[in-house]
Amino acid sequence: MFRYESLEDCPLDEDEDAFQGLGEEDEEIDQFNDDTFGSGAVDDDWQEAHERLAELEEKLPAAVNEQSGNGERDEMDLLGDHEENLAERLSKMVIENELEDPAIMRAVQTRPVLQPQPGSLNSSIWDGSEVLRRIRGPLLAQEMPTVSVLEYALPQRPPQGPEDDRDLSERALPRRSTSPVIGSPPVRAVPIGTPPKQMAVPSFNQQILCPKPVHVRPPMPPRYPAPYGERMSPNQLCSVPNSSLLGHPFPPSVPPVLSPLQRAQLLGGAQLQPGRMSPSQFARVPGFVGSPLAAMNPKLLQGRIGQMLPPAPGFRAFFSAPPPTTPPPPQQHPPGPGPHLQNLRSQAPMFRPDTTHLHPQHRRLLHQRQQQNRNQHRNLNGAGDRGSHRSSHQDHIRKDPYANLMLQREKDWVSKIQMMQLQSTDPYLDDFYYQNYFEKLEKLSAAEEMQGDGPKKERTKLITPQVAKLEHTYKPVQFEGSLGKLTVSSVNNPRKMIDAVVTSRSEDDETKEKQVRDKRRKTLFIIEKTYSLLLDVEDYERRYLLSLEEERPALMDERKHKICCMYDNLRGKLPGQERPSDDHFVQIMCIRKGKRMVARILPFLSTEQAADILMTTARNLPFLIKKDAQDEVLPCLLSPFSLLLYHLPPVTVTSLLQQLMNLPQSAAAPAPSNPHLSAVLQNKFGLSLLLVVLSRGEDLQSSDAASELAQSNPWTEVMFVATRELLRIPQTGLAKPISIPTNLVSLFSRYVDRQKLNLLETKLQLVQGIR
């Protein structure tokens, strides 16, 4: 809206026109200002709307007789009548308390006022609403006039003649936050998350989609606790003439006159001829019963009706089903929600959610439960043979008039969403425990079957259809030949906030600490890599079972390769060299996760590789023991090591023992002290390992009868030295081993005399009684 700075700026040609134009603009602006700030601003008050409705009731007899084709004229007349009252009402615009509202009080007096809520609560909002609920009930109990409710929901304006249309369209902003602003996207009268209706309601002119602020509540005060028997169920209300639930805009006796809105809705929704919607048809529909709140909104109501017809949309299908009874008088509606909903439920199998990707036992359980539920509901009408608990529960279901507000269709919809969330490309990855649990169950039931020798159930193989993983690589929009890149950022293509560049430092700059830190980081990284390899390898067995014949060799190769990689990672891969340093391995073993990982890897390694690991461990055991002081995880290695030992040849065992005890190579000159051995003996794991090694050696020795004679058995030599060392070691703080092998006494008895044997026994606590 352009304004000229001064009059002189106006082009002289268009003097008059311009002035006139300006004048008109001014008028418009004044009008707008007036509306917003001045006297024209009407406080949108729904209470006002209801007052007007109340007054309309009084005018009803007159209005009903009019068969006006032009509803608007009527509206205008009625609006005009209120002009005098408008000023009065405007003055009462600000009302502190709803209860001071004279209109409400008037209305309240016409009906028996119920006792106020117990106690003087500060929670007045709830109080007020209950009071008002009673008021609104009777208002709508009367038939609505031909005036469309919509118009009444809008703020009142004094009649302005030709500008009316424009007024209504531009200024009629309803109170709800979903008010449509012209030019904005169309309002959904129903929130976005609601389940879809059978019949898509065609979108209308935005203005018309104002949701009606009129609420209908059954005229029943919700007293707590109200026994169900007292209240009238909506079913019964339907049969009561002039009850609020039947307070449909169209009285039964009068051919309904519809506003353009309702006509269009009916046209679009019901596929019936306009004006033929008799309330009897509405009354017949049990969905009406279940949703009293929606009753007054024909659009939603049609949605409800639509939901009642799962297989076939449209009223015709529904009403064609019981042909002779259309249309029945309102009183003869079906006795209750039960039969209809049962019909619906029997049609429910069409709506069964997609269970194909459930475990087959799930499906079985699911059917079982559905059967149970069906039986329960069938017993509703029949004699309840079940226990009292069940029957009382069913009693409650029967007597609960608000039951099944949530339709079966909606329940299916929710569970469908929940099912969708369960879809996965790799069920073992996504839901490991679920899969395992059901596998266990299956095994159990299979085991029971074998024992019980009962009827054989079908052995269902576990097939989980997997959703294909779709890889979407998002390519941001690019124009060819342009000099720059578009800075469009979206969910798939988020903008880069920080340019983090990795710079690697040179060796000189680093301090010792940093080096240590980096080394540790590298070790951690290697552990992580090796761990994922390990998990993959552990998984191969399952994959093997699931795969086809052709794929299996490939799987085996993969597995072998991975195992080699793991071993290389553990020992530190040095291409084409021996492995001179244990350092890499020791670093890994210093970290708790590394130790556990090694324990898990050992079963997969070949004997030589595993033996190598074992030797390295034994060699560096004191150091590892020192590092393990906090974690105390080393004992987890004992069992894989023991298992391994049973596969090792005697030579290895011998050298292992040497390593473990740090025995001097030559038996001649023993070292003064053997801290290595002491450290080993003072550690639980060390001692246990030592004992296991000794035991194994003894087993080998005793099993191989021939070598017993040969004195130059390396084992024997080592044993001599070993026993000497053991005797020498002071008995300070020896650890308690995890397990003591039984053959140690016989072992030592070979090499030492009686006295020393006793000594050894006491020292190492080899005899049961001492411990």
């Binding site: 809520q117 117990p118 106690g119 003087s120 609560l121 929670s123 709830w126 609403s129 209950e130 998350g193 919700p222 007293r223 707590y224 959610p353 269970t355 459930l358 799930h362 359980l365 699911l366 439960r369 559905q370 539920n373 608990h389 009382s392 529960h393 409650h396 279901i397 609960d400 608000y402 039951a403 099944n404 507000l405 949530m406 909606e410 329940k411 929710v414 569970s415 969403i417 929940q418 099912m419 369960l422 679920y434 649990y437 059901f438």
Partner: protein, 133 residues
């Protein structure tokens, strides 16, 4: 559970009386009428129950629509066992009064604690004053 054994679903709980504990500490008791995929609840004939010690009081509230994320837990109420409680029901004014008294004593105790800590030069930051990270 009706449709998916092994999963948790509220569908089987519909039309049954439930006790719902909200994140702000309120306890609501009502009939669960409707749910959605976010576990938003529609409670009917809801009563807010305030517990103080061994007493409780009920405030009738009507219909509640509870956003799912605000629910801590909910459980079905066995209608037969419902009255079998050692707790004593009192009027609303009384329970509100008791609640007020309880809040007051708690505040005072808290104040004393904070003062004692302050005297010793310590301070425990309250959870709501901590910065989120």
């Amino acid at each position: 559970m009706n449709y998916m054994p092994g999963t948790a679903s509220l569908i089987e709980d519909i039309d049954k009386k439930h006790l719902v504990l909200l994140r702000d500490g309120r306890t609501l008791i009502g009939f669960l009428r409707s749910i959605d995929q976010f576990a938003n609840l529609v409670l009917h004939q809801t009563v807010e129950r305030i517990h103080v010690g061994k007493k409780y009081g009920d405030i009738p509230r009507g219909i509640f629509v509870v956003r799912g994320e605000n629910v801590v837990l909910l459980g079905e109420i066995d209608l037969e066992k419902e009255s079998d409680t050692p707790l004593q029901q009192v009027s609303i004014e009384e329970i509100l009064e008791e609640q007020r008294v309880e809040q007051q004593t708690k505040l005072e105790a808290e104040k004393l604690k904070v003062q004692a800590l302050k005297d010793r030069g310590l301070s425990i930051p309250r959870a709501d004053t901590l910065e989120e990270y």
